[in-house]
Symmetry: C2
Subunit: 259 residues, 2 copies
DNA sequence: TCTCCCTATTTACTCCGACATATTATGTGC
DNA sequence: GCACATAATATGTCGGAGTAAATAGGGAGA
């Protein structure tokens, strides 16, 4: 049975195989997110900038359209193309999140995402406990089994983890929740990835996942929310120590929780 | 130094003054969201489609880049441009939300948004109660006063309502929450707008807003969340009756709450 | 001196035609 | 029947020409 196959070539936006305009959008996007171009700045004119990047105006313009679509810039004749104020950026767009985490992610923004995750994920588990059906539970169970076989340090293990959480989202029967949670999860995993150096995981995550599963299977909404809350805290703990390793030399107030 | 200038003519994405490629993106976007083009469908080739729309290939391509940026379609040489599966759409993108509500919005999706709002808004009020400062409170107070002067049936009144909720979001000190809530709020207001026919508001909304303000001012997180919860329920009630007026002839199970 | 309107210029926007590249489909030889 | 080379096709990239819009600047009038 040739499983998956589905998620085989779905990475059109990654790697060097990206199209030219996509590469330009990526570069400009990361430059904007990293602060190289600040809100209010006007980019050099199309002709000048395209020439500087050694690309045609068409490719450059298509890249600008992408950035415009994500709320990063706006163009007007005579006035030029300028970076919009931060509150108009589509910060939850998967690409924008990716660009935000391409460099050294802003610690304040990471905190924002974790806070949002701590709000959304338990609520999602609550809905899942209310609405899941047999198929949902089977998918979760299979994913859990796969997680037990491979550890979270392997690709297969992380894939199983994703499957488990995706099954929960599917069970919520809520598209908006699905999209949102998937975006945040992917972004957070970006941060988790850059800390994948040897440091061992703090503790075996399987039992916590099992608790979530049991609560959802039992249809216990409160227990599901609480169990998911534990999982989110665990991930936060994980990321916190990783970030501390990176740039927090000694005991200063924790930037992720403010304590 | 001439200040402001910034937010003067910021409505580039609306009205007939939109650029050509923006108009094409709008048309194709609404066609996709409305189901005219289903996931998996391949669009006619660039040349053919551009000719059919009576526009140049460049303009058509730029529109496609916009849709691609929002996860609605993907293009590959030889294979053509095809509509992506719904789970890859950036449903929380402001434009996509606008396109979704351009026609008759899917009732299931509206339910999703309200459920998400019921999760996010009370949590936002909770954060606001914890982190607001004097300026935040003053902005809220001013907005409340303006709401009292004009009713919600006027433009000025609705603007004051927006200001009030924006002040709460600002007080959360959480960018992700701000962006998300602003998107959802705008979308929900889209639905509220199409029901703006004479039907009087069910009850005076001012006292409920005051309760939210008082709780935030007092720093009482639980009370703030609860008061905001009441507000969301009120909005849901509002939208429900509007939708019932539209397409639910008699007593069938409520699509928005499932009861 | 100030205000208003008109003009000029700058810039993005649109169009066109050609060529390059990537991917699928075809066909050929083994 | 399979592997590899080949061709066909659609998207991708390019360069240039002309259009439309918005700002800045100057001039007429008060």
């Amino acid at each position: 049975m040739k499983v998956d196959e589905t998620s085989r070539k779905t990475d059109e936006t990654r790697g060097p195989g990206r199209r030219l305009h996509g590469a330009i959008a990526h570069r400009l996007g990361t430059d904007i997110l990293s602060g190289k171009y600040a809100p209010g700045d006007v980019l050099s004119g199309e002709v000048a900038f395209a020439e500087e990047l050694k690309v045609s105006r068409s490719a450059y313009r298509e890249a600008i359209q992408v950035l415009t679509a994500k709320g990063l810039v706006a163009s007007r004749p005579k006035a030029g193309t300028r970076v919009l104020p931060r509150e108009r950026w589509n910060l939850l767009d998967p690409d924008v999140l990716g660009w935000a985490f391409a460099g050294e992610p802003d610690i304040e923004f990471v905190r924002s995402l974790f806070e949002l995750r701590a709000i959304v994920e338990p609520a999602a588990a609550r809905f899942a406990a209310r609405r899941r059906d047999k198929d949902d539970l089977k998918t979760m169970k299979d994913a859990l089994a796969a997680m037990r076989r491979h550890t979270l340090t392997t690709d297969a293990g992380r894939a199983a983890d994703r499957d488990f959480h995706n099954a929960i989202l599917t069970a919520t029967r809520n598209d908006a929740l699905m999209v949102l949670s998937a975006s945040i999860g992917a972004a957070v995993n970006w941060t988790t990835q850059f800390k994948q150096r040897a440091r061992a995981l703090p503790r075996n995550p399987i039992p916590d996942h099992v608790r979530v599963y049991d609560a959802i299977a039992a249809g216990d909404e409160n227990a599901a929310a609480e169990a998911m809350n534990v999982l989110v805290d665990l991930a936060l703990e994980d990321t916190r120590s990783a970030i501390e390793d990176r740039d927090a030399p000694q005991g200063q107030p924790d930037a992720l929780t403010g304590e």
